[in-house]
């Protein structure tokens, strides 16, 4: 099943019948949705459902096999212009462990051509409460602290679209609170967010839309307002159970 929700305002993320196959296996199979600035899609589903593959296509790391995906009107893979609009957070930190948090975030700022980079780097680290440890090598930080730095790295260029693949992984309560506050702020400032998580309450609290993905397809796609958390939890459990 694929679902399309019509949104007010021009969509910043447009995905139409998107399919991504690896050989004969379709990891993403005919997914359709769109998000306007300030929208947040919470994406749930069992392991192997295709959530990460969908995010990797939207980040420009994988080519669609068929269908289309657009970020800010640019069809993917759309080169530098589309990639510059996206901030990617993953359960992999994507950091260089020999460098400090400040150097990692400054490197990302340089790649994205951020103006006033020094101030932006400081601000990103401060928002994730990492200024105190900003000059220690990343390898000396705990997993949760590394995840905070990774989030600061993804936000340094003020992306229009944030793709967050299990961003709470490894974060302690304080880190999770900082991230939730940051994602809330980003939404208010017009950033569209797609968040992949296994935590229904966390995902639903942030989202304007929610989807359950199974075997590459959206088996549910709903506006948050119309969701009854209990029945949604049942659908999710069913999807996880049927995936084996």
């Amino acid at each position: 099943m694929s679902s399309t929700i019509s949104l007010s305002g021009p969509p910043i993320v447009e995905v139409a019948e998107l399919t991504r196959a690896f050989g004969s296996r379709r990891a993403v199979a005919g997914v359709t949705f769109s998000l306007a600035p300030g929208d947040c899609l919470a994406l749930f589903g069992p392991n192997g459902a295709g959530k990460t593959t969908l995010l990797r296509v939207l980040a420009g790391l994988l080519r669609p096999t068929s269908g289309t995906a657009r970020i800010s009107g640019v069809e993917l893979p759309g080169g530098a212009l589309a990639r510059s609009c996206v901030g990617l957070i993953s359960h992999h930190t994507m950091l260089y462990e020999a460098l400090s948090p400040r150097e990692n975030v400054a490197f990302a700022a340089g790649l994205y051509g951020v103006r006033d980079a020094r101030a932006r780097v400081e601000d990103s680290l401060r928002r994730m409460s990492m200024l105190d440890r900003s000059d220690a090598p990343v390898r000396s930080l705990s997993r949760g602290m590394q995840q905070r730095v990774s989030i600061a790295r993804a936000m340094v260029h003020s992306p229009q679209v944030v793709l967050a693949d299990e961003p709470y992984s490894g974060l302690d309560e304080s880190g999770a609170r900082s991230l939730t506050a940051l994602l809330g702020e980003l939404r208010s400032s017009g950033t569209a967010i797609i968040i992949v998580t296994h935590n229904l309450a966390e995902g639903l609290s942030l989202s304007t839309y929610a989807a359950v993905m199974q075997r590459g397809r959206f088996v549910r796609y709903d506006a948050r307002d119309g969701i009854d958390p209990r029945s949604y939890a049942a659908t999710y459990r069913e999807a996880v159970a049927s995936s084996g």
């Binding site: 530098a80 990639r83 990617l88 993953s90 930190t93 994507m94 020999a98």
Partner: protein, 226 residues
């Protein structure tokens, strides 16, 4: 173009900063080079082979294999915790990534050469004075070719299970023409022949560099596409 060069420099600077902090590959390459020179020195019969015949081969064998240590590390640092995804998701061009990696590798190889060439001259008691300039030119030209090919294959091999084995298997056949041209040109210089006699080999090295740098830069984006 300016954007590509700036991004390439950022990436090269980052790689060099990582190497400067860890010094793992550089120290390994320098120790390997010096040990190689010493082993060849003591396994050599000076009554059977003249030093000027032996030294060029020793030099380029040692450079080829010590260079591989640095080239393997080049994309190895990107594989740890999927840092390469952060790089590929950024707006920099694929060519800038290749160029940045190649610049860092070139500086790495040249730094190893800066230690290994004087060591070779010292161990093998070779004349330096007149041939220093042309020898530096040969070393630089050969390093550019080795680095272009090595950077490409490092990117291809990094995600395989046997990356450390696969990189030399892929790269060495392509290193061959560069190593042959460099060792032949070095042999001409060390045997006291006029620089013009090495001219043909230098031109060949230059041609290999132009072809390999262009071909590797154009091919690199395909090695990282899914």
């Amino acid at each position: 173009m300016a954007d590509t060069l700036f991004a390439a420099w950022l990436i090269a600077r980052k790689d060099l900063a990582i190497e400067f902090r860890t010094r793992s590959a550089f120290l390994s390459a320098v120790v390997f080079s010096l040990l190689g020179l010493v082993i060849f020195y003591y396994s050599w019969d000076p009554t059977a082979v003249a030093v000027t015949d032996l030294a060029p081969g020793v030099l380029w064998i040692v450079f080829t294999f010590s260079g591989l240590l640095g080239l393997h590390r080049s994309f190895g640092v990107e594989a740890a915790d999927h840092a390469i995804d952060g790089l590929l998701a950024s707006p920099v061009s694929r060519e800038a990534i290749f160029l940045g990696k190649a610049i860092a590798n070139l500086i790495f190889v040249v730094a190893v050469q800066l230690i290994a060439i004087p060591a070779l001259m010292l161990f093998y008691n070779l004349p330096v004075g007149d041939i220093a300039g042309p020898l530096i030119a040969i070393a630089l030209l050969a390093a550019i070719g080795l680095v272009a090919v090595g950077t490409l294959f490092s990117a291809m091999a990094v995600n395989t299970r046997l990356a450390e084995l696969l990189l030399p298997m892929l790269a060495l056949p392509f290193f061959l023409p560069i190593v042959i041209a460099a060792s032949q040109a070095t042999a001409k210089l060390l045997s006291g022949r006029p620089i013009t006699e090495a001219g043909a080999w230098l031109k060949l090295l230059l041609a290999f560099d132009l072809v390999f740098v262009a071909a590797c830069m154009l091919t690199y984006p395909f090695t990282i596409e899914d």
